[in-house]
Amino acid sequence: MADSMELRDIEVWDGNMAASQALRQVQVDVVAAYPITPSTPIVENYGSFEANGYVDGVFVMVESEHAAMSACIGASAAGGRVATATSSQGFALMVETLYAASGMRLPIILNVVNRAIGAPLNVNGDHSDMYLGRDSGWIQFDAYCPQDAYDLNFIAFKVAEDHDIRLPAMVHQDGFMTSHTAQGVHTMSDEKAYSFIGEFQPMNDMLDLDHPVTHGVQTEEDWHFEHKARQQHALMTATIPKIQEAFDTFEKYTGRKYNLVETYKVEDADAVVVCMGSSVETTMEVVDELRAKGMKVGVVGIRVFRPWPLEQLAEVLKNVKAIAALDRSSPHGSVGMLFNEIAGTMFNTDTKAVLTNYIYGLGGRDLTKAHLVSVFNDLKANADAGKPTTPLQQYIGLRGPKLSFF
């Protein structure tokens, strides 16, 4: 029996410690990991908890991130509660196995501390790895601060392990900006935290020796399509309501409220920035400052990135006149992902907002309040003109001649 840990109501934790404390409190059975900056402390802390008797689990050291996720897949298929963490290049190496985990419907939780993908090699935060995972069939939650990183881990386990869902989930946080920035985090007691998730309920587990089962079979053109369709059906129909249900239950547990699409002063806003990660909180400050000057501005944060909350976002943005999609990943040959997703979300609606795209913050480049003020000024001009007054895609915070496309 694992020892319980006495926590203060508010602990000063960075995003990594917040995530690893959540892994301890849900009593993860198996963590197989190949630590990589900036997510290293998550699995390092879990290893320390495990070694000191605070978790009845196993820490498996492996030889790569590909092996880490592969071991997690085996442990999950065997019937354990399983989690790990990674970033950047390690996430990229994991990609093949991410598809295996989701296709095999294994509820593994992966903490992704977002970091740029080289070349050039870079250890700092941007959203390249998060974007790389978006077609892998995982549920993707986005934390904006250490508190979110703590809370969303519980939500992730609750949703992923549900027998109507059985899909793996990632909890994203920004490298260094969130993962290494200590803030006050409201905690749950070990008992209360565990009771939110409860005991792991196995499904088709390989250790059920009375019901032998083969996991990870091959299918060709006669079955593959049906399997992928079934997975998409679970993501598209069951997952969003289940996440909402988990958010509601969590609010009753803790008083902390999460939404599929987070909004700040959007109700009467003409101009709205849509972004993810720690940038959401920066933009909230800028919104307050611009509101004080009489500008009707707001910010939308994407909390659940996959499955994409299309209907919820269309509802939130329906009265907005100008939208900026802020992408913290180089789209390499197109507009940013958020631009495309928002365009797809709004295209068939009655809303005729002007939509523009900004690429920012690559490789950990700061997004300053001044940058955001200039974005909102662009949006105001777009809203007034009823059409784009700037190129569709602009770069912000970049040295050299101004760069823009379309």
Binding site: G103, L106, V213, T214, H215, V217, D222, H227, A229, H233
Partner: protein, 136 residues
């Protein structure tokens, strides 16, 4: 196997070996097991085979080498006696014939079309061991 629609099978890429729960499977003979339709036990891969092994019980010493070496558990043995070959699952790799230690061999490879009775009639005779130099 029937082709089910996308909403008509168990989730995950799983196949069950047996219908329902099993007990003491190790002591239950294959023909008495409730193999599921999706079990490979119920699907023939005979058409993968170009050559087939044939068994001549006259020379077999029941050493069980073939049973141990067969990669597809296609040697049927009962009470430690060689009974025959499971031609639904044998892929014709020839390992059984290779490892057979008798003289002549009790398992030999033939073309898939070879008639078994004719093969048994024409089975090779015992080979004389050639004396090696220095031996006598």
């Amino acid at each position: 196997m029937e082709k089910a629609g996308w909403d008509e099978f168990e989730i995950g890429t799983i196949l069950r070996t047996f219908e329902g729960a099993i007990r003491d499977i190790a002591t239950t003979l294959p023909e008495d097991r409730a193999y599921s339709q999706s079990s490979t036990f119920n699907s023939s891969v005979a058409d993968w085979r170009i050559e087939k092994p044939l068994f001549n019980k006259d020379y077999c010493i029941d050493c069980q080498f073939c049973w141990i070496y067969c990669p597809d558990t296609s040697i049927i043995a009962r009470d430690k006696k060689m009974v025959g070959i499971d031609f639904d699952h044998c892929k014709g790799c020839g390992i059984c014939a290779q490892v057979c230690p008798t003289n002549p061999k009790s398992l030999l490879m033939f073309s898939e079309q070879q008639d078994e009775d004719i093969a048994l009639e024409q089975w090779p005779k015992k080979e004389k061991k050639e004396k090696e130099a220095g031996e006598d």
